[in-house]
Amino acid sequence: MSRLKLEGVTRRFGGLVAVDDVSFEVPAEGVTAVIGPNGAGKTTLFNLISGALPPSAGRILFEGQDITGLPAHKVATAGLVRTFQLVKLFEDLSVLDNVKVGCHLQGRAGLFAALLRPASARREEAAVDARARELLDFAGLSAFADEPASGLPYGRQRMLELARATAAGPRLILLDEPAAGLNTEESAALSRIIRRIADDGTSVLLIEHDMTLVMNTADRVVVVDFGRKIAQGTPAEVRADPAVIAAYLGTGKPSPDPAATQEAAHG
């Protein structure tokens, strides 16, 4: 069974159709990327999947369960966690506490556990602490554990957001342009971490403009343009697809590169 399945998902804003009858599946293994020119409806698609917006039509199935129109926190509870195009950290919390918030779904302690601290709550807290530190280690952030998150350099903020999302223990993680603003080196490190997340059994669905990252990291690519899915396949297949090349302004380039994408957005 596929982990995520979109069936004819559509979203209209007034007269504008931002996402138009999109269907595809995300298998349980590996990394799937959604690419397309700016304004093609990728972020809207993510908002629909993550429950930030309800679709106008169509169904979204997560592990066979219908999650269409569920509120965002319920979608996360089901095991589908997203990151944001613009990093949204809890800036006043420490780096470690950011990841601990990520562990929210792993715990159960409520107000009374907070006040009375029974043995079960203490055990849970110790487990959360251990897991959070482990994830910081994984993301290379251990040295900053007690720093306020706002003090991290930008590249590390991205890593922290990724660690925090992973902490939620998702079975599908949605990454909205995770490489935006990263330099080549950071981007390569990110690619390795994404592969590791996928290898650990979490399927990854990402939107990305950085084509190097997509081609190196993704197992499958879905291409959207004007809200429609225009192609789907392995990176190599997609790269050779005439419809894809046409969508990227018909530049004739074998691989759509970020500069062309930018122009497409502004043109």
């Binding site: 993550s50 930030a52 509120p71 965002a72 926190h73 996360a76 509870t77 966690v81 997203r82 990151t83 944001f84 949204k88 950290l89 809890f90 800036e91 006043d92 919390l93 420490s94 470690l96 506490d97 601990k100 918030v101 990520g102 929210h104 779904l105 715990g107 302690a109 409520g110 107000l111 556990a113 907070a114 006040l115 601290r117 709550a121 849970e124 807290e125 959360v128 007690d146 306020p148 925090r164 999302a165 939620a168």
Partner: protein
């Protein structure tokens, strides 16, 4: 968000001693009042009651970075609940207090549900309106509240035949209550529940994406805050033995915000320190009673402009917000 300061991680040894200073200050003030008794004890008692209220306010506004200008409504419900049930219906204080708090939390649930969906100035005005409506009701519902005259003859707090009547006895009782409140706030802060509140304060979108039910946590913080407010209102009427609408008026909103900002919004010790400082300072020029609210208002403006994270932030090393 600028109104929720960072959590100091407890692992940092150098700040441990500094962290004790506010508690030391509070202990000295309360100890002094205990020794001197009389008027000083009364002033400090009021400060401690305010500390309970502000601790609750801080849970909602500091920890979760939400806005309410109407928590005085819940203090009024707690206070009048206690006053009416004891003075008019002859209940004993403890069940009256419990009833008052329950009524306030229930009221908070009823108004909180629609109110917390509001944002910005709508939320500010909506909550302000809740406080003002409650005030008007305490004035106008004369058959129960006796209007501006107020209710007198409220018995002091006690359980069974044991009553807290002396100044010092009240101080001890209030100190214990405040300590319990601060302890609760500290525990909440360092828990899954408290982290979820901080997450709501930091970014509602990100919190939601991590599976946190934002509106539920906002409501919980609001109810908690209302509970603390009602407890403070009830304590007030039992300590003073009298209640009138003015006690829970707009004055209370301004004074408690000043306390919150003086002590440092979002910190555990801030509400207590703020309540003590703001209560004690005007006593030094008590002869000019008309100037008190003037001073509170002016102090609040200055704090908001120059020390939005509390007086303590003025002395904190730079870079560590």
């Amino acid at each position: 968000m600028t109104i929720s300061p960072s959590i100091t991680s407890p692992e940092r040894r150098p700040f441990r001693l500094v962290g004790l200073l506010p508690w030391l200050f509070a202990a000295v003030v309360v100890g002094y009042a205990m020794v001197v008794g009389g008027y000083a004890a009364t002033v400090v008692s009021f400060a401690l009651i305010y500390a309970v209220f502000v601790t609750g306010l801080n849970l909602f506004m500091g920890f979760a970075a939400q806005v309410s200008f109407g928590q005085n409504a819940f203090a009024a419900i707690g206070g009048y609940g206690s006053a009416v049930l004891t003075a008019t219906y002859g209940w004993s204080p403890l069940p009256a207090m419990v009833f008052g708090i329950a009524a306030a939390v229930l009221a908070a649930a009823i108004v909180g549900f629609p109110a917390l969906r509001l944002k910005g100035h709508y939320l500010a005005m909506g909550t302000l309106a809740i406080g003002l409506i409650t005030y008007e009701i305490t004035v106008e519902w004369q058959s129960v509240t006796q209007g501006y005259l107020g209710i007198s003859g409220i018995p002091p707090f006690g359980i069974g035949s044991w009553e807290v009547t002396s100044d010092r006895g009240q101080l001890v009782m209030l100190s214990l209550v405040v300590a319990a409140c601060a302890f609760a706030a500290a525990r909440i802060r360092r828990s899954r529940f408290g982290r979820a509140l901080s997450a709501v304060a930091g970014s509602e979108e990100a919190a939601t994406a991590l599976g946190i039910d934002v509106s539920r946590y906002k409501l919980m913080a609001f109810l908690l805050s209302a509970g603390f407010a009602a407890l403070a209102g009830s304590l007030f009427v039992h300590v003073v033995g009298y209640v009138s609408p003015e006690v829970f008026g707009l004055h209370m909103v301004i004074v408690t915000f000043t306390m919150l900002y003086v002590g440092g919004i979002g910190t555990v010790a801030g509400p207590l320190v703020g309540a003590l400082i703001v209560s004690l300072l005007p006593e030094t020029f008590r002869a000019f009673k008309d100037y008190q609210d003037l001073a509170y208002g002016a102090a609040l403006i200055l704090l908001l402009i120059y020390a939005p994270r509390g007086l303590a932030s003025l002395f904190a090393p730079r870079g560590r917000s």
